[in-house]
């Protein structure tokens, strides 16, 4: 009897591994958990986008809870996300700062914002990915929630929708404001 149980061990090991790998098939490999959660925002200082006077630096992210949104005029998913960011801006819920990532020419970002509206309080120009890499960005759009002490608390990969905002990001912003 005990021997029969022994013979079942390889089967049990196989089933455990199969279940683990099966679950792995369903996860999205593009969603890489950020190692920067609960660490201070990287020190950076981005120049303004073309035609503006103020850029974006890490010091601007201290003092209140804010969002940092990585976008680009070339980014299709950003275009999808954009109307919702405009809504957020109109409701004056939380400041959204923009990092204009990898524009091929200096006019592309500003003219995109002129055409579709500008939801950002401050916008920095990041043509060579310096800030994007410092934030561990792998694609656009990505949005970080930064607390009042300038610490990254959450990373949203992909467009923010009304649903994601209501159920995931907004509760975190509210909680951080209470801290």
């Amino acid at each position: 009897m005990s021997k029969r149980v022994l013979y079942l061990i390889p089967l049990a090991v196989f089933l455990a591994m199969a279940a683990y790998f099966w679950r792995g098939l369903g996860t999205n490999p593009q969603t890489i958990p950020s190692v920067l959660i609960d660490t201070p925002v990287p020190a950076f200082s981005l120049p303004p986008i073309d035609g503006r006077d103020v850029g974006l630096s890490s010091d601007d992210l201290k003092g209140q809870v804010s969002l940092v949104n990585i976008f680009g005029s070339w980014c299709v998913a950003c275009r999808i996300e954009h109307p919702f960011l405009m809504e957020l801006r109109a409701s004056d819920t939380v400041p959204i700062h923009g990092i204009d990532w990898r524009e091929k020419n200096r006019q592309a970002g500003p003219s995109w914002l002129a055409r579709h509206g500008d939801p950002y309080t401050l916008t920095g120009d990041d043509p060579d990915s310096k800030a994007a890499i410092a934030f561990g960005v792998t694609g656009a759009p990505e949005t970080f929630i930064v607390d009042a002490n300038g610490v990254i608390r959450y990373k949203q990969i992909g467009p923010i929708t009304a649903d994601i905002w209501k159920n995931q990001l907004w509760p975190i912003v509210q909680k951080l404001r209470g801290e």
């Binding site: 890489i32 190692v35 990915s129 890499i133 561990g136």
Partner: protein
């Protein structure tokens, strides 16, 4: 025959003038995963993010960082996932140790199995000595046979 050509994503304008630094940059780049096309190194990938990472690696080498400092910076931004060869540490212990442990367990199991069957076979070859009653019966049979022949 395209696959015979070395894949070279590194564009001429990226290459450093100093061949030693450039070869160090190539070495580092080959060990770093492109976050966009994830099974390529940034040295192989044509993705724009990979290009910016290659330039960053070179910039840091020119600024005087050693290889480990450059790698550490990128790992500090993207995590161990960015390394094509996972590091050996507590979190990856199962990954690295599993093949050796499985081999060891299987080896012990095979050893025990064969030892057991070998001793079982030995017992058949050398049966227990006859009891006194059996010995007497045997002697009787042999004697009877002698008489009859």
């Amino acid at each position: 025959m395209a696959w015979l050509a070395p894949s070279l994503a590194v564009e001429p304008d990226e290459v450093l003038a100093d061949p030693t630094l450039e070869s160090r940059a190539r070495g580092i780049s080959q060990g770093l995963r492109c976050l966009v096309c994830q099974n390529q190194s940034i040295d192989d990938s044509d993705a724009e993010l990979a290009r910016d990472l290659r330039l960053l690696v070179r910039e840091r080498l020119v600024a005087g960082d050693d290889d480990q400092q450059v790698i550490d910076y990128i790992v500090s931004r993207y995590g161990d996932f960015v390394l094509l060869k996972p590091p050996f540490k507590l979190a990856t212990l199962a990954l690295w140790a599993a093949p050796a442990v499985i081999l060891l367990v299987a080896g012990v199991a095979v050893f025990l199995y064969y030892r057991q069957s070998a001793t079982a076979g030995g017992a058949e070859a050398a049966p227990a000595p006859l009891s006194q009653a059996e010995q007497q019966r045997l002697e009787t049979i042999l004697r009877d046979r002698d008489v009859s022949s």
